[in-house]
Assembly symmetry: C2
Homo-oligomer: 198 residues x 2
C-alpha cells in the first residue's frame, strides 16, 4: 500500500531553512548545515554542491528516499530547488502543488495541481506500490489538514538555528497524534519516522 | 563536574504547552498530553494529577532527573507549578530566575535571582557534584545566550500540538551546535540528550 511520506531535515529548534531564503539562497543563510548529513562522507563531496549517498545509517535513509515512486512538492520548494533540473530521481513523476498553474511546463515529468488531496491521489496512483516522497513545509501543512499525509520522516539535526523558516508553523491547527515507528541514528542526523494517526 | 541540564517535554512541532496557558492551566489546553509519559504506568496514576515513576526506559530518565542536586527555573514555570509546594524533589535548593525579587520568600529552599549566569553559578555550587535541573523556555533561552547551559534533555512527544508556547522561540539568536550524546526511547516519549557545543 502506497504511503505519502514527508521527508524533511529540521533543526532541534524546528527550522528547515536559515533566514533570508529565496532565489539563489534556497536553504537560507547557514541552511546548508541542515543537509550536511547528505554530504558527510558522500561520494560527490560537499565542494561540488551535489549530494552523494552517505555511508552507514544515513545511507539507508537516503536509499529509502530514492525508492519512492513519485514526488509531491510545494511550488516554492520546487522552484528554489531549480525544479531538480526536471528529474528529482530516477525519472519518477513530480506533482507540484501551486496556487497558479503556469502557462507552460517545460519538464515532461512535472504536473502542476492546485488541490492537495487531488495531488496526493495522483501521486499515489503514479507511485504504484511505492511510497510518495513529500517535500515542503506548506505542502506538509496542507496535506496534514486534508488528512492525506500518512507518515513523517524527520531528519533531526543537532543544531539550534535560531531563525529561519519553520517546518511546523501553523498556530491554531488541530492536534494530531503521531506514532513513532522507527529511529535511525546516523552521524549528524537522527532520523525519526512517525505514522500520522488518523 | 556539575552540568546544567535542561529537561523539557516538547511536541514534534516544538510546543511545551498548549494554548491559553496561565494560572490554573499551567500546561495550557491539552498540554497535559505532553507529560503523559510521566503518568503512563506510574505509581500515582494520572487521576490524582501527581506523576509517579513510570516503568521501563521512561523510568530511567525520571530517576536521572531526580538525582539532580539543584533546580534552576524561570519564575513563570515556578509560579504555574505552584512552587512545587516549596520542594521540587528531595529538598534540593531551588533557584528562581525573575525580573523582580518578591518581598517575601515563604519557601526556605527557594532563592530568587535576577541574573541567569549568577543563578546558574549558585545552582552549580549548591548541586555539588550532581547536575542542575533546568526548567523553563525563557530560562533556557537566557542560559543558552549566556553560555551557561551545558546540556539539553528533550522528551520528544509523538504529537503535533499545533499551537501553544514554543520551547525555542527566539528568532534572531545565534546558531548553536549540539552533539547528541544519548537516545532513550520509551513508550510515548523519545528522550534525546544533547551537549551544547561551546
Amino acid at each position: 500500500m502506497s504511503a505519502t511520506v514527508l521527508y524533511m531535515s529540521m533543526s532541534v529548534d524546528g527550522f528547515i531553512t536559515g533566514p533570508n531564503d529565496g532565489p539563489g539562497n534556497g536553504l537560507g543563510d547557514d541552511g546548508q548545515r541542515l543537509h550536511d548529513w547528505l554530504w558527510t562522507g558522500g561520494e560527490a563531496g560537499g565542494a561540488s554542491g551535489v549530494p552523494g549517498r552517505p555511508p552507514g545509517p544515513n545511507g539507508e535513509v537516503y536509499d529509502e528516499m530514492l525508492t519512492t515512486g513519485a514526488v509531491l512538492t510545494g511550488r516554492r520548494t520546487f522552484d528554489l530547488a531549480g525544479a531538480w533540473a526536471g528529474d528529482h530521481h530516477d525519472g519518477v513523476p513530480i506533482f507540484v502543488l501551486t496556487s497558479r498553474i503556469p502557462g507552460d511546463t517545460p519538464h515532461p515529468l512535472v504536473t502542476y495541481l492546485t488541490d492537495v488531496a487531488t495531488a496526493a491521489e495522483r501521486a499515489r496512483e503514479a507511485a504504484g506500490d511505492k511510497d510518495v516522497l513529500v517535500h515542503g513545509a506548506r505542502t506538509a501543512q496542507l496535506a496534514l489538514a486534508a488528512g492525506v499525509l500518512d507518515e513523517i520522516q524527520i531528519h533531526l539535526i543537532p543544531l539550534l538555528l535560531g531563525q529561519g523558516r519553520r517546518l511546523f508553523d501553523h498556530p491554531g491547527s488541530d492536534r494530531i497524534e503521531l506514532e513513532l515507528t522507527r529511529i535511525v541514528n546516523g552521524p549528524g542526523a537522527t532520523h525519526l519516522r512517525y505514522r500520522v494517526v488518523k
